[in-house]
């Protein structure tokens, strides 16, 4: 019997072709939620009124969406840029910061304590600002990719979609850093009293006082909202398409600023 001389071509997905590391990392963050789900099902502890594993699970979900989105947009990066040594190093730093962030948040849950705003011991007080640096670093990939896609003239995308992808990524960075740095100034994510525990399902935002996680959420989703606006703009007459994307971007910035102001004033968005 003669063994097969050639292996069948390995099936690959477009995501793994365009951005193997980002795609694999997105999937890894998702798969790593499996043991956390087991812990959530077994653990009777709660923190600030919700199961102690809810927060790590939300971060795994959010960062899966984040890296999957970057992996999808990677196909519009300038040719060869993601094969450079500099990019590989930068990408490794981003992934290391994300792993650090998830270990900090998951580790705090395992230990039954808070991650963000936790100044209860010198070690936690030292970690918190370090994790702020990690968070800004991992968010910077949206700025870098947004600028690179902006300048790439060979994406093959219609002008409004091209602009909306690039602008959405850049705005995710700018608005997230703004919202998150305001969020980090306080002693917790809630602004105002009384807090009795009324929350939105899934998102967990307070329905009775200001919750600064809401503007952070909106800000970070610029990378999703603007491309949808860009796709919708294709339905307009061609002269209006690009201006419509700019108007949508301005409106989205206004929405985030309104959400920030409302939350800072101690009022819930919904």
């Amino acid at each position: 019997m003669t063994p097969a001389l050639t292996l069948p071509a390995r099936p690959t997905l477009r995501l793994w072709d365009a951005a193997p590391a980002l795609s694999a990392f997105a999937l890894l963050v998702a798969l790593a939620a499996i043991p956390l789900l087991a812990a959530a099902a077994l653990d009777p502890r709660s923190l600030q009124g919700e199961g102690i594993w809810v927060k790590p699970l939300k971060f795994h979900l959010a960062l899966t969406v984040y890296f999957a989105t970057l992996a999808i947009f990677a196909r519009w990066m300038p040719a060869g840029m993601m094969e450079t040594r500099g990019w590989r190093i930068y990408q490794a730093v981003i992934i290391a910061c994300t792993v650090g962030e998830l270990l900090w948040i998951g580790g705090a849950a395992a230990l039954g304590t808070a991650s963000h705003f936790n100044l209860s011991s010198p070690a936690w007080a030292m970690l918190y600002p370090l994790m702020g640096v990690f968070a800004v670093t991992l968010t910077s990939m949206t700025l870098v990719m947004g600028m690179a896609i902006w300048r790439n003239t060979a994406t093959g995308l219609p002008a409004p979609v091209h602009l909306s992808v690039a602008l959405g990524l850049v705005l995710t960075f700018v608005l997230t850093v703004l919202a998150a740095s305001i969020l980090a100034q306080g002693t917790g994510h809630l602004v105002g009293t009384p807090v009795t525990g009324a929350r939105l399902p899934l998102l967990g935002w307070s329905r009775e006082v200001g919750d600064l996680r809401a503007p952070h959420f909106l800000a970070t989703h610029a990378m999703h909202v603007l491309p949808l606006a860009g796709l919708s703009a294709l339905a307009l007459p061609s002269r209006a398409q690009v201006p419509a994307v700019w108007i949508a971007a301005a409106a989205f910035c206004a929405l985030v600023l309104w959400a920030l102001a409302t939350s800072l004033a101690g009022r819930p968005l919904v």
Binding site: P35, A38, A39, A40, A41, L42, W53, G106, A110
Partner: protein, 147 residues
């Protein structure tokens, strides 16, 4: 879910895996997939969930024998330890079945090895290596491609 229920579930899952290995000549690949991957991974998920949830609340540690014994005063950690035995013993059992098959060890000789691994994991692993050594003391002298 109470720890007693989880204990019974874990035991039943492991027993299913061992049954698959005992009957593995009937369907070697599915048996090894079930006993070498699916069930050990399910047990590993249970183990990891228990450790994430209960480790920080348990006394004891790994550094001295009294510390290790203290760990087992927490029922959930004892359950995790049991899931650890079940998962790794079954994984080794699947390796025994697979290795024995690829080396042409007849199944009637593999069965006692599996039974020993099932009951006393490391003893089964040791017995497997002893039998393989006895059958082929100088594997480098064997012609390539022969089992």
């Amino acid at each position: 879910m109470p720890t007693d229920t989880l204990f019974s579930l874990a035991n039943s899952a492991a027993l299913l895996g061992w049954t698959a290995l005992a009957l593995s000549p009937l369907a070697p690949r599915p048996a090894v997939m079930l006993a070498g991957r699916i069930i050990p991974l399910a047990l590993a998920t249970l183990y990891t969930g228990l450790v994430l949830a209960f480790w920080s609340g348990a006394e004891g540690g790994f550094s001295t024998l009294p510390d290790v014994m203290a760990l087992f005063r927490t029922p959930e950690i004892t359950l995790a330890g049991w899931a650890h035995y079940l998962a790794f013993d079954l994984f080794v059992g699947a390796w025994v079945a697979q290795t024995a098959r690829s080396e042409g060890i007849p199944h009637y000789q593999t069965l006692p090895l599996l039974l020993l691994t099932f009951l006393f994991g490391p003893a089964g692993f040791l017995a497997t290596q002893l039998l393989r050594t006895a059958r082929s003391p100088f594997p480098s002298l064997q012609p390539k491609g022969q089992p």
